[in-house]
């Protein structure tokens, strides 16, 4: 399934209630390295398809979620599984690194 842009109202349903692991990409317009994550996430989305969900959340427009998870550095990926923030990846990392983290929850 495609990468979904979510807001704070959709967070509960799309992320916390999901039966499969969800990667949430916390990003902002100002953050150049965040844009560099896009091709990596697109490849993961293609490869794992319905086994995972991937969501993008704009931290400026959704400050309540960003602050709930104490996001003070982006790019930040949080892998949610069964409603819990299971792993956090801060900064730009290679696809392999992100994929290894993800596989722990598959």
């Amino acid at each position: 399934m495609a990468i979904k842009d979510i807001n704070e109202h959709e967070f509960e349903t799309f992320v916390l209630k999901s039966d499969v692991p969800v990667i949430v990409d916390f990003w902002a317009e100002w953050c150049t390295p965040c844009k560099k994550l896009e091709p990596i996430l697109e490849e993961l989305d293609k490869k794992y398809d319905s086994k995972i969900r991937i969501a993008r959340l704009n931290v400026e427009e959704n400050p309540s979620i960003a602050s709930r998870y104490a996001i003070r550095s982006i790019p930040a990926l949080i892998i949610f599984y069964k409603g819990e923030a299971a792993d956090t990846i801060i900064g730009l990392h290679p696809k392999t690194y992100i994929e290894k983290m993800l596989r722990r929850h598959l």
């Binding site: 100002w30 390295p33 560099k36 550095s73 990392h93 290679p94």
Partner: protein
């Protein structure tokens, strides 16, 4: 397994420049990048000292153009994470996470990454006030006091950038003068939000679930103090990314790849370019220059040994 002529490992300015020259020599040239092309320059907001752009250029735009130029001449840029390099006859086998490549010549352009400060609290608070990227994180600290550690170009230019957001920027440096380009120093000293703290090191980063204060020590007087800040941005130099080749080519005592003026390493068929080499100064202009030399030497090497 893909058979190619030149494998370039790393897609920052050095690798992309090498890719351009390899492609224009009409050799099968592949740039292997593990994240996405651009490298360290993506962490800054504007590049002002790359000739040809009198008003500076956005690093993303510069990367896009360099990438286009490689592809224009038939060079390929592939997203792959390389974790092995071994000799196979007179060729080199490059092992990636996605694919394997068999190359006649290899150019190492793996760059460098920000050095850690190495103090208690740094790891714990990474992402919660400890940052290595001002353009990513400065907006989180609007109207709040922050610290920058370091005295080089990155530290000083990023301190100036952060003043767009923060209420106050303490520039903490272990010496009594900066190393940064004079133009950056001048701008920093004229900026009312920046206050330098000289001869001082950070000994610990304290907080609860986020950074709250820094423990400082004056290296001349030994005096200790505390500084309340919401964030600490660390720019204390770079470490070369040499993991892939550290047991293959000779390194300098500081851990960078030893090269000659033609960007040859100690091993025939392996060349190097950019920040990962011992060539001084981490600058885009130098990276692209050494990238060009490495590729031209690699082309000669291929013509001589495989022609």
């Amino acid at each position: 397994m893909r058979e190619i002529d030149i494998a370039i490992i790393g897609g920052g300015p050095a690798g992309l420049s090498a890719g351009l020259y390899g492609a224009r020599a009409m050799l099968k040239t592949v740039v292997l990048e593990k994240q996405s092309p651009g490298g360290q320059i993506l962490l800054t907001d504007i590049i002002e000292n790359y000739p040809g752009f009198p008003r500076g250029i956005n690093p993303e735009e510069l990367t896009k153009r360099m990438k286009q130029q490689v592809e224009e001449f038939g060079g390929e840029i592939i997203l792959d994470d390389i974790d092995g390099l071994e000799k196979q006859g007179n060729l080199w086998k490059v092992n990636g996470w996605e694919n394997e490549y068999l190359a006649k010549a290899v150019i190492i352009a793996t760059g460098s990454e920000p050095r850690k400060l190495g103090v208690p609290g740094e790891k714990e608070f990474t992402g919660r006030g400890v940052s290595y990227c001002a353009t990513c994180d400065a907006p989180f600290f609007k109207d709040q006091p922050v610290a920058v550690v370091g005295g080089g170009d990155s530290a000083v230019s990023e301190a100036i950038y952060i003043t767009k957001y923060a209420s106050k920027v303490y520039l903490i440096h272990r010496r009594d003068k900066l190393r940064a380009e004079m133009i950056w120093q001048k701008r920093a000293f004229e900026n009312p939000k920046i206050e330098a703290i000289w001869d001082t090191v950070v000994t610990e980063i304290k907080g609860e679930n986020k950074v709250k204060e820094l423990y400082l020590k004056n290296v001349k007087t030994g005096e200790e103090s505390k500084l309340p800040v919401e964030a600490i941005f660390i720019f204390v130099g770079m470490n070369p990314n040499v993991d892939l080749v550290k047991d293959i080519v000779k390194l300098t005592p500081s851990g960078k790849i030893k090269v000659n003026l033609r960007m040859e390493t100690s091993v025939p068929g392996i060349f190097a370019a950019g920040d990962v080499t011992e060539v001084p100064y981490e600058q885009v202009s130098i990276a692209v220059g050494t990238g060009a030399i490495a590729a031209m030497t690699a082309v000669e090497y291929i013509n001589k040994n495989f022609g």
